[in-house]
């Protein structure tokens, strides 16, 4: 088949709409309004306590959200993946379904729930909303690795006299590590980069880093906004280094969800 050239239109498209825009972020981040090279945007971030505090606070919220998601999600993924509990495939779909509802609607629904139960909106609502929004991202990858795990390894461990706790610690947990890692990345990344969500959940009392980026771009401070985006991209890039090719392998199977 000589259809190699068919990738050309898309290659061009990717160049214009993916590669060049990302390079533009770098370009804007390192230049001033006149287009001259400068480090001032980054210096401004380091010298600006408000932006810096928001940045650190966002990472903190993302870490807490990720931990809560892991603690809640791992047992769920485990139960879903074990045949002995005969959970149906529909159950798995039910867990992933909320992921496909508009994030703003989900967030407003959380606000509605807190209003309905007459709970105060604030940090608690923020973490609940984030967990609610991103828990499926934790459950799904862990469920995937647990499901693909070779069950005979567990039986072998049992035959060799390991008690259930030991089987879990020495066999199941290490084997599900890739799922845990991609779950952590998939929860941490969107949590640290959301904007608008935190404001809605806390009645504008708490601002996260994503909103700082958006506000600067919105107010015409493109260079500073680009620098903040680059900082976020670096943070996420560092997180991304921990992932392996596991995600790609999952995508290649062609499943939609």
């Amino acid at each position: 088949m000589r259809r190699r050239n068919w990738s050309l239109p898309y290659a061009l498209f990717l160049l214009v709409f993916v590669v060049i825009p990302l390079l533009l972020i770098v370009l804007y981040a390192f230049t001033d309004e006149e287009g001259a090279f400068t480090m001032a945007n980054f210096r401004k971030f380091l010298m600006h306590p408000e932006a810096m505090n928001t940045f650190i606070y966002s990472i903190g919220i993302a870490i807490i959200t990720t931990i809560v998601c892991l603690v809640l999600g791992y047992p769920a993924a485990y139960i879903l993946s074990q045949k002995q509990f005969n959970t149906s495939k529909t159950m798995v779909v039910l867990f992933i379904l909320p992921m496909w509802v508009n994030i703003l609607i989900r967030t407003l629904a959380t606000v509605a729930l807190f209003d309905f139960l007459q709970l105060p909106l604030g940090e608690g609502a923020l973490v609940f909303g984030m967990v609610y929004n991103f828990l499926p991202f934790m459950i799904y990858p862990i469920y995937n690795t647990l499901q693909k795990m070779d069950k005979s390894l567990i039986e072998a461990a049992q035959d060799l006299g390991a008690n259930p706790l030991k089987v879990f610690n020495k066999v199941i947990l290490p084997l599900s590590a890739p799922g845990i890692v991609s779950g952590i990345v998939m929860v941490f990344m969107p949590t640290v980069s959301t904007f608008a969500i935190a404001e809605l959940l806390t009645m504008n009392n708490i601002k996260l880093f994503g909103t700082t980026v958006q506000e600067n771009i919105y107010n015409g401070m493109w260079n500073y906004g680009a620098a903040l985006s680059l900082i976020m991209l670096l943070l996420i890039g560092i997180m991304g280094l921990f992932t392996n090719d596991e995600d790609n392998a999952q995508n290649e199977s062609g499943g939609v969800i």
């Binding site: 214009v16 533009l24 804007y28 508009n102 407003l108 493109w222 680009a226 290649e252 969800i257």
Partner: protein, 264 residues
Amino acid sequence: MMTKILAKAYLWFLLALLYAPILIIMIFSFTEAKVLGNWTGFSTKLYSSLFSGGMHHSLMNAIWNTFAIAMLAASISTMLGSIAAIGIYNLRSRARGIMNFTNNIPIMNPDIITGVSLFLLFVSFGISQGFTTVVLAHIAFCTPYVVLSVMPRLKKMNSNIYEAALDLGATPFQALRKVILPEILPGMISGFILAFTLSIDDFAVTIFTIGNEGLETLSTYIYADARKGGLTPELRPLSTIIFVTVLVLLIVINKRAEKQEKEK
């Protein structure tokens, strides 16, 4: 037995937690009260006023825009992505590696970075933002998913069938239409549905590329509405409808996937 009950109970507890907010919205879509949480008796007035237009003309406009953008973006992405997948599949391994890597960038990137980068692209080249830029942006983040859903179908295909068609006198175009297309069609359909839902759901990329000419999609409408403090009561029936639609769509996709698995 005990652990089994406990395990099931835990799953149902988590599901209850996940669905409580949506359920609240659904329940209160059937009452007229302006403020969510007040129950003033069963009524379907919000549903009828959602569709009667007039008062909420801007909301209807936003819904219409959302669907038009999703339809356009999903159609173009499906075509672009399917052609690209055939091309990438036939590339030599190094070029294929580069293409696959670049294809994964929009998937890995957080929405806000995609949004900011496209915003900078449009302002740098002095392109005024509006409907077209939103569609272009949506194509940019939807197409990679189409490529990923078409690719496995190509890999599974027996390439000898294509050669056989050529040997039997089919022109390359006929062979493409009669052999390759039917093979990759399920992947194209999954890719289209995925692109469509991604586009409808999107908020972060849209808000950076929509400009300030007054164009609204559902996401930006809800955002603007929520920032004003009050939430338009009609959004409750709307969210309910969207949720039920997504539920049905997902079940259809899943049934398709299961059928495909059985065919394997």
